[in-house]
């Protein structure tokens, strides 16, 4: 750790009230942002990097980010998954410029230093000089120079990476409740990508981390469902937090009992089942895929991953900090490799509900920016998070709670040096 970065000098004093208060300064302070890179992103967490299917074959690589640090995930010639910082050991240039591809080895374009797919230095251009002149010193040892390795691990088709050498496996780190739900959504059948795009949102990354855990705002800000009468406010649902540090969460809902009326049961596939006022009701044609009754869910994995399964629309969201007040929210829509054409068509149409133009979710593109703008000049003021109490207990009967946001802050506080 950088000796100059004493958290006590940089981090704001946390107000009385613990995780039920959040100092606004955390969203707009450059010192805080820099310290997060070091203590949080490069600290003891597993960061989501990419899908395993994107690096399926030997030679496949995918670039990604841990906080702002560029990294690359590659499958080497032996089929092993490797992770390394995407930085040449010579002058620090990016080694992989493309987002994805397939290579026999990596080559830095600046001075043609080449690397094996595991990041070991393979060759240095003009190492012996030209015509007997120049070149590297006699004692230059390629074995002492390499792209900095990071640990990578796959869980449920998701590739995670960490700078921390002493981390438990991902499954253990997320805890049994989170692991079970990731297996339900991503781990039971081979996945396929249906499409991807991203959204630049003009806010600190933590505002989106809060937003994605915020079940309180869902039916208040996002009025599509209620306006078009396609969702019931009294649906069964709840919030589950991870064991240990409660920084991961699942928010789930079960469609109303109306859905189980006899006329729907025999068909299983039912259009207009929501008694909606849509002119194009086929948008919400849906089919039950699980027997636990859960039809809407959002799961967050600290720090920057969320997975939603809304009706039949399955999507991985990765929110990548691009600076203090800018975040790239990457949406990757998924299906299962063995989906029928009909199921794929439903997933494709239901993708309209979310994403940059999501009928339900598009407000999230601007709401966090409104907080970012609203909290300028706020001094030592703090947000109030008391909906559903001030504690950190799972809420299995109600989503009118901010408990999962408090859970995020409890993990954040631990990493950033608050007692």
């Amino acid at each position: 750790m950088n000796a100059a970065a004493n958290p006590a000098d940089i981090m704001p004093t946390w107000p009385e009230g613990g995780v039920s208060r959040v100092p606004y300064r955390l969203f707009s302070d450059n010192g805080v942002y820099a310290l997060e890179q070091e203590r949080l992103f490069r600290g003891p967490v597993w960061n989501y990097l990419c899908l395993e299917l994107e690096v399926a074959e030997p030679g496949d690589f995918r670039t990604a980010f841990i906080g702002e640090t560029p990294v690359v995930v590659a499958r080497d010639g032996n089929g092993e998954l490797r992770g390394m910082v995407n930085r040449c050991a010579h002058k620090g240039a990016l080694v992989c410029l493309a987002e994805r591809g397939n290579r026999k080895h990596f080559s830095c374009i600046y001075h043609s230093w080449t690397y094996h797919l595991d990041g070991r230095l393979r060759g240095v251009a003009f190492r012996g000089g030209l015509k007997g002149k120049g070149g590297m010193p006699e004692d230059f040892d390629p074995a002492r120079h390499r792209m900095q390795p990071i640990r990578v691990e796959v869980f449920c088709g998701l590739v995670f990476g960490t700078f921390e050498s002493d981390m438990p496996p991902v499954e253990e780190w997320v805890g049994p409740t989170m692991a079970h739900f990731l297996k339900r959504n991503l781990g039971s059948r081979p996945l396929k990508v249906l499409g991807t795009h991203s959204q630049i949102i003009h806010n600190n990354w933590k505002l989106y981390a809060e937003n994605v855990r915020d079940s309180y705002h869902a039916t208040l800000l996002h009025t599509f469902y209620t306006t078009f009468k396609v969702n019931r406010l009294d649906m069964d649902g709840g919030i589950l937090l991870s064991e240990g540090t409660p920084w991961h969460h699942i928010s789930y809902a079960k469609r109303a009992t109306l859905e189980e009326a006899a006329e729907y049961k025999d068909a299983n596939v039912h259009s207009a089942s929501y008694d909606s006022k849509l002119n194009g009701p086929a948008l919400l044609k849906t089919e039950d895929e699980f027997d636990d009754g859960i039809t809407h869910s959002v799961q967050s994995i600290f720090p920057t991953l969320a997975v939603h399964f809304t009706l039949n629309s399955l999507c991985v969201r990765n929110f990548v900090p691009r600076g203090l007040e800018e975040t790239e929210l990457v949406w990757t829509y998924l299906g299962y490799a063995d989906d029928s054409e009909e199921m794929t068509a439903m997933r494709v149409l239901q993708a309209n509900l979310t994403g940059a133009a999501g009928l339900v979710s598009l407000e999230d593109g601007c709401i966090n920016e409104f907080v970012q703008r609203g909290t300028r000049g706020s001094g030592d003021a703090a947000a109030v998070l008391e909906m559903g109490g001030r504690g950190l207990e799972s809420s299995e009967s109600s989503r009118a709670t901010e408990v999962s946001i408090r859970g995020f802050w409890s993990g954040y506080r631990g990493l950033m040096g608050y007692a």
Binding site: V193, L194, G195, T196, H197, S198, Q199, I200, I201, H202, L221, T223, F224, T227, F228, L278, N279, G280, P281, A282, L283, E328, Y333, T344, R347, V348, L349, A351, N352, G355, A356, A357, L359, L362, E363, G365, C366, E369
Partner: protein, 157 residues
């Protein structure tokens, strides 16, 4: 062979559609589509990889109407307007008597406080039906050059 008169009709039609959006006459926008017409916004990256999920998809005029109604009554966002700049269409005859039209566009976005950005650039990949001198979209795909959308898309491109 696409005659000069047909070309002129198509160019006017494409221009009218863009003006309908820019003048905030969005209720008239679904009328540019055939009853079973299709509208998509996607990215060049998705198109090149053959991936079906883009950013917006409406199948049939009803879904276009729902989009407009959602924008007017349900969705919440900071007020903004578009200004489309269109390139001349590249026209080719397609199957079933349809005409394939490709045209470049850029969309400038102006927020209520006057902030103005280049919001989108791309290709309109259109399948046009021309009947009795009337042009309509059988399919319109707004294929964005960039995979990144600034803030959100609520007004159709």
């Amino acid at each position: 062979m696409i005659g000069a008169e047909t070309r002129q009709r198509i160019e006017d039609f494409l221009l009218d559609c863009a003006w309908t959006i820019d003048e905030d006459d969005l209720e008239a926008w679904p009328g540019f589509f055939a009853e079973d017409g299709r509208y998509r916004i996607t990215t060049r990256d998705n198109e090149e990889r053959g991936l079906p999920v883009g950013i917006m998809l409406c199948e049939g005029r009803g879904m276009l109407e729902d989009r407009v109604l959602a924008l007017r009554t349900a969705n919440i966002f900071e007020p903004h307007r578009y200004r489309h700049i269109l390139g001349r269409p590249r026209l080719r005859e397609s199957e079933d008597g349809l005409i394939r039209s490709d045209s470049s566009f850029i969309v400038m976005r102006t927020m209520q406080d006057g902030r103005m950005d280049l919001f989108a650039a791309g290709n309109y990949r259109d399948l046009l039906r021309v009947e009795d001198g009337q042009v309509m979209f059988q399919e319109r795909a707004a294929v964005l050059e960039s995979r990144r959308v600034d803030v959100l898309i609520v007004i159709p491109i």
